[in-house]
Amino acid sequence: MSALTFAYLTEPVLKGVDFTLDKGAIGLLGPNGSGKTTLLRCLLGQVPLSRGQVSVLGWDMATQARAARAGLGWMPERGGVIPGMSGVGLVAYMGELSGMPARDAMQRAHEVLHYVGLADERYRACQDYSQGMKQRLKLAQALVHDPEWLFLDEPTSGLDPRGRVSILELIRDLAWNKGLGVILSTHLLADVEAVCREILVLRAGELLARQAVDTHARQARQVFEVEGFGNEEAFVAGLRDLGAQFEPDGRLLLVTLDLSKLPDARQGAGFDTAAGVNAILRVAAASDFALRRLRRRPVTLAEEFYRMVEA
């Protein structure tokens, strides 16, 4: 995808989005209205682009979207369940529309419904399904033609915690064990952490960041809980010289260190995890500040996300 720009009427929704994805589980994060669903629609070739180029599976989506869609599965957030059909009927129907022979589609519909856990409910009218079953059904119809990429728009929306975990397990299995590419659009950061290896962060239609979910990639930024007594002013000044940021948290002082700014913190492609602790200990010793507590607080994806979005 290069320099993608899309606008509804004159309102720009995506502005110069540019990235290339390898197969795997990708999380698409962003606040409401940031353009996540529109980006997925662009990847499906469902909307005309104002500018830029989208290429999926080697097909140019401006002119060859139909061919590309044979290799794509789409699970919409809202609706997506056609009333009056049984679960197996709907999934087989979608399989046929994806270019499968009728008998193959029916056989495959049974298989994927087994896979998503709807085997016992497959002959029921799908409008009578519970929300969790509908989500599974939508996942099944997206899988029926064995796509190379799955685009999932808020797949855990409206599910209870158990149903959510169950759907996430399926998605994780597909992405990590079955070799499917998955783009998971959601605002639930825990879902992304549970499934994805990489995230794309959108804000106001712009690609804000792209980074691995793996904590090692985030270890350049470390947060410490600090409590002590002594010459606090000198201690804070010493840390400030290292580029630290401070935030009071009750009796504690939260110190955020960027290891990339510390000398000798680099270790191979990453950072020495002890570099931050050592730096604080050195500053405390030099400024006559006795530490009562020094603990590294793990940086969650949520904190990282809010930091990026609110920056």
Binding site: L44, A70, R78, G79, I82, L97, P101, A102
Partner: protein, 284 residues
């Protein structure tokens, strides 16, 4: 891993024949309503006039022109008689198409079905073509099919009296008429269906279009304002059909004007469909 999991396997194509998307859509559109038993009853009732006409034809062919006293031109086995038969089916056409066609697009819009359709390798023509074919099939089931059966029946009852024209040209004329009229009517109904998200809304507008305009046309005729019959929606199809069947005009306006009105309706319907059918979600 969940206990119910049987494992995901990749699909190996069997090499069997793949149906085009429009045919898949049409097949589903036809078979789904037929799962309702009362629809069979409705279709059977729509065939009652054909059964009656068949009986009359039988006696006419066996008892000479005596039966001309019953039913007049409607019982004729000339092409005009069959056009009048199709015209007589308008109530059944109105009801059956309202039931089977009103929700074809509105339901997809309401349930975000378009998003599913257009995430598949199909285009706008496949979608509209499949939906239109559904309506054309039901239209033909109560117009073209009875006419063909009646022609065959007449030929079998009295081959010498009817001649091959009844077996070839009349079914052919009816086929062309039903395909053209059915396609145009189906596009108009689909256009209405694409304007709303509720079938009831579509049915109301369909009733206004068919029954309302026919009533206005009839009142206009009663008042001696024949030109106002141009508003009669289904009447235009029958009037234009008189060109094909070599019959006198069914309305007081020229069949060519009716043909132009039919073309205009069709063009308008296509324009509406082009604008309305998009793979976007309807936010409720």
């Amino acid at each position: 891993m969940p206990v119910y999991e049987r494992g995901y396997t990749h699909w190996q194509p069997s090499g069997r024949r793949v149906n085009p998307a429009w045919l898949v859509i049409a097949r589903r559109g036809i078979t789904e309503p037929l799962k309702r038993r009362w629809l069979f009853l409705l279709i059977l009732m729509a065939w009652v006039p054909a059964i009656v006409k068949g009986g009359i034809i039988y006696f006419k062919l066996k008892a000479g022109n005596l039966m001309d006293l019953v039913g007049g031109g409607w019982t004729s086995i000339e092409p005009e008689g069959f056009l009048r038969f199709i015209e007589g089916q308008r109530f059944s056409v109105f009801v059956l198409l309202a039931i089977t066609g009103a929700g074809l697009i509105s339901t997809d819009r309401r349930e975000n079905g378009m998003s599913l359709y257009f995430s598949r390798p199909l285009g706008l023509l496949d979608y509209i073509g499949g939906k239109a074919l559904t309506i054309v099939a039901f239209y033909c089931l109560i117009t073209l099919a009875p006419v063909c059966v009646l022609c065959l029946f007449s030929y079998l009852v009295a081959p010498g009296a009817t001649g091959p024209d009844l077996l070839l040209m009349t079914p052919l004329r009816t086929l062309v008429y039903c395909l053209l009229a059915g396609t145009s009517i189906s596009l108009v109904l689909l256009a209405f269906s694409s304007l709303g998200t509720r079938s009831v809304f579509v049915m109301v507008w369909w009733t206004v279009l068919v029954s309302g305009t026919e009533t206005v046309g009839a009142i206009a005729e009663g008042l001696g304002r024949g030109s106002l019959q141009a508003v009669n929606f289904l009447g235009q199809y029958h009037n234009a059909g008189s060109l094909l069947f070599g019959a006198p005009p069914r309305l007081e306006i020229s069949p060519w004007i009716s043909l132009a009105i039919v073309v205009a309706w069709t063009g308008l319907a296509l324009w509406v469909l082009r604008r309305q059918i998009r793979p976007v979600e309807v936010v409720s």
